[in-house]
């Protein structure tokens, strides 16, 4: 079980310190789960390229091989290694599933995200541990979602941590609090439709489910509404796309989720304490989402 948070600048032209905001929101919610923390941040896209975030096991000697793979794919515009974490901007216009497979074909590599603007960082521990591992507090962007984790059924490691990138769809990720009790049924259905899963974590299924609908041309609103009846179990979740953030709460309102907004920004969190760490003067009053309610903010 977990803590969720999200932040978005409503104006499509506006960007700002989303990294600092998320860092501030995540720290007080670390009590909800200290197994791991992760953030999906949306920065400025660059034409004809994708930004890739991956974890490369230390001392495996493989960063070079990953970079070679990316060069072969289309060319590396820039890259940086921070400990085991690689960030690279890649000139590429093919299928992201193929690119992910190629990169993960190199041993000891796990791709966190590939997107035009989305970058996922995760680490075992709390928001400060993520900052030490993959500095993000200075990240400037349009929106971001984040998560602190108390592992329920699957393993405690970075691979099983949220946010889950809905691979191979660019720029879509999910953070979830609760437990999807029809996960296996849902997963089998999506696999039969050709989708693939990287982990055994039920939350990943939400990402693939929504991405599947968006790829089929449904609106985010429709996908969110359908999820309320199609998903069984307890859930409050946030989904982020290139254009913004959506959220949904199960029909029995079992896991907390509140939001607040003004003309410029919207914030969503499991607990008000996350919002207060950013809006200390309490000018924005939070409201709980109702049972079965969905909300979305597209820039």
């Amino acid at each position: 079980m977990c803590g969720l948070c999200g932040f978005v600048y409503k104006d499509a032209a506006r960007t700002g310190g989303v990294g600092r905001v998320l860092h501030g929101m995540l720290l007080p919610m670390g009590r909800r789960g200290t197994d791991s923390t992760g953030i999906a941040l949306y920065g400025p896209p660059e034409d004809g390229s994708f930004v890739l975030r991956a974890r490369i096991e230390a001392n495996s000697g493989t960063p070079e091989r990953v970079l070679e793979t990316l060069e072969r794919a289309g060319g590396v515009r820039d890259h940086a290694m921070e400990g085991p974490n690689l960030r690279a901007r890649v000139a590429y216009d093919g299928d992201l599933g193929d690119l992910t497979d190629a990169v993960e074909g190199v041993p000891h590599v796990e791709v966190f995200s590939i997107g035009r603007s989305m970058e996922i960082v995760k680490e075992v521990g709390d928001a400060n541990d993520v900052e030490r591992s993959s500095p993000f507090a200075a990240f400037e962007g349009s929106h971001a979602i984040g998560h602190t984790r108390m592992a329920t059924e699957s393993v405690v490691d970075v691979a099983h941590s949220h946010p889950f990138w809905a691979r191979p769809f660019p720029d879509i990720s999910v953070v979830h609090n609760g437990h999807i009790t029809n996960y296996h049924k849902l997963r089998r259905k999506l696999e039969n439709q050709g989708h693939r899963f990287a982990t055994g974590n039920d939350s990943e299924a939400i990402a693939v489910y929504i991405a599947d609908k968006l790829a089929a041309g449904e609106s985010l609103e429709d996908a969110l509404r359908a999820s309320v009846s199609d998903l069984d179990g307890t859930f409050s979740y946030l989904i982020s796309t290139a254009d913004g953030i959506g959220c949904a709460r199960d029909r029995f309102a079992l896991k907390p989720l509140l939001y607040t907004e003004n003309d410029e920004i919207a914030m969503i969190a499991s607990e008000e304490v996350a919002i207060r760490s950013v809006d200390g003067d309490a000018t924005l009053e939070p409201r709980e989402l109702a049972a079965g309610e969905v909300r979305w903010w597209l820039r």
Binding site: R31, G33, M150, L254
Partner: protein, 474 residues
């Protein structure tokens, strides 16, 4: 063959032919279907499961003989005490012997029963636990160490009582009916009980399954904080769980901040619960114990978060085996009731009126307990004077302690908590597979890891010796 007078012990019809009930449509099943048809709902009753699960019964001890030295009874001391619940600096519960009396409600039990249990626990130096209905003043007076349950229903929950308690136990579920609320039939919701629970008398009292003010372990962490704030951090916080997905649940309870975890296996009893739930939910206590200990080890919290197991603990032998598997203590509910007089062959006509006999009575739900334990009827309660009943329970607790010490000494231990899995052997392949303890007559535990190891060893041996695949199991 004529007459049907053949007395060979085989059930025969009048014409002498052997009677052949079908396994699927047994007499029990036929009766069950027909009573459900009459009732229009599923059946409820008291106590616990009827079928036989894999149980501690399937393990045996291998005491010292030549290879190890046993300890003398009477002369060479064997320590039994343990302190539990100190993980976050609270004043721990001190158990002179590693046994506690499990939560049973005043409402399900009579006040004499609760008082007797409290008196016996005090004399034995252990703890009792309140139940779904709150704290009875008689029990607080009688029991030196009283654990206060926080249940989904919060019937009778009083923060002043919480502050008077020696520990608090958040009940997430129990072994008899995990994942489900309870039902106390109208017959047992007497005026006194009803008032204590703020209910109209005589209603069928439904208890919710979830707690009203939190959902899930992340929220429970905040609830635990609230309980600590309410009690100034002075008392241990227990979390009680019905044994289902034990590894996950134990880890989550640890993460949420529990000081003590109580795992109640499927053998656990109850005052009233659906019969189908009792037999078909949860996992056996022996299996749950193994999984809980492994989970605590993985979290590196063994001995830091204490583990109590309950559900079908019948005597000191079962307790000794549970300790050998790694539990810090056991909790008894049904066994304590039986020591009080449950199912004793007295007042036989009253058992008959209930449609049962001593030895097969699980009619707690009727409120007409012939021996005055699970009833609110004054005449019946009078059959259980608290003092004598307390003597019986104290006697039984002493016998359990003696058995614990006997087995520990036989295995060469001067403390019952030094019993280990290596002191046990499994009598069945099933018990071996569940516990990881070697099967008697072999050196092999029937677990996947053991098979994998055996194959690896065999292949290594084959390469070294240049032989083909070796014969024999091992």
């Amino acid at each position: 063959m004529e007459g049907g007078a053949v007395s060979d012990g085989i059930p025969r019809g009048r014409d002498g032919h052997v009677l052949q009930p079908l396994w699927v449509w047994s007499p029990e099943t036929i009766e069950d279907i027909q009573s459900k048809a009459e009732l229009g709902r599923y059946t409820n009753r008291g106590l616990g499961m009827t079928k036989r699960p894999p149980h501690f019964e399937d393990l045996t001890f291998v005491p010292c003989t030549l290879s190890r030295v046993p300890l003398e009874g009477y002369r060479e001391t064997c320590a039994t005490s343990i302190e539990i619940g100190g993980r976050h600096g609270a004043k721990p519960i001190k158990l002179s012997t590693p046994i506690t009396i499990a939560g049973m409600s005043y409402g399900a039990l009579s006040r004499n029963a609760k008082q007797a249990l409290g008196m016996a626990a005090t004399r034995a130096g252990i703890s009792t636990t309140t139940g779904d209905g709150g704290m009875l003043d008689l029990e607080r007076e009688a029991s030196d160490q009283l654990v206060y349950q926080v249940l989904p229903s919060r019937y009778g929950f009083n923060p002043h009582h919480l502050r008077m308690a020696n520990a608090a136990e958040i009940v997430v579920g129990q072994g008899a009916k995990p994942g489900t609320g309870g039902v106390l039939l109208g017959a047992k919701v007497s005026p006194i009980i009803a008032e204590a629970r703020q209910l109209p008398p005589g209603v069928d009292q439904r208890s919710p399954v979830r707690h009203p003010d939190f959902v899930g372990p992340d929220d429970m962490q905040i609830k635990i904080e609230e309980l600590r704030e309410a009690t100034d951090g002075q008392i241990p916080i227990y979390v009680k769980i019905g044994a289902c997905r034990v590894p996950d649940d134990v880890k989550l309870a640890c993460k949420a901040g529990a000081d003590v975890i109580v795992i109640d296996g499927m053998e656990g009893g109850t005052g009233a619960s659906p019969d189908s739930l009792m037999n078909h939910t949860g996992i056996p206590t022996m299996a749950a114990t193994v999984e809980a200990v492994a989970a605590l080890r993985e979290m590196k919290l063994e001995g830091v978060v204490n583990l109590i197991v309950s559900g079908g603990i019948r005597n000191g032998v079962d307790a000794a085996k549970a300790l050998a598997l790694g539990a810090d203590a056991v909790s008894i509910g049904t066994a304590a009731m039986i020591a009080l007089n449950c199912n004793r062959p007295i007042y036989l006509e009253d058992y008959e009126k209930l449609g049962t006999v001593p030895g097969a009575c699980h009619h707690c739900h009727t409120g007409l307990c012939p021996v005055g334990i699970t009833t609110q009827d004054e005449d019946l309660i009078a059959r259980l004077p608290a003092d004598e009943a307390a003597d019986r329970v104290e006697g039984f607790l002493n016998s359990m302690t003696q058995e614990l010490q006997m087995f520990a000494r036989a295995c060469g231990k001067n403390a019952v908590h030094d019993l280990e899995p290596e002191d046990l052997r499994a009598m069945t392949i099933e018990a071996s597979a569940i516990t990881g303890i070697p099967l008697v007559g072999t050196n092999f535990a029937f677990r996947p890891e053991s098979f994998a190891q055996a194959v690896a060893d065999a292949m290594a041996a084959a390469t070294t010796n240049g032989h083909k695949a070796p014969q024999g199991a091992h």
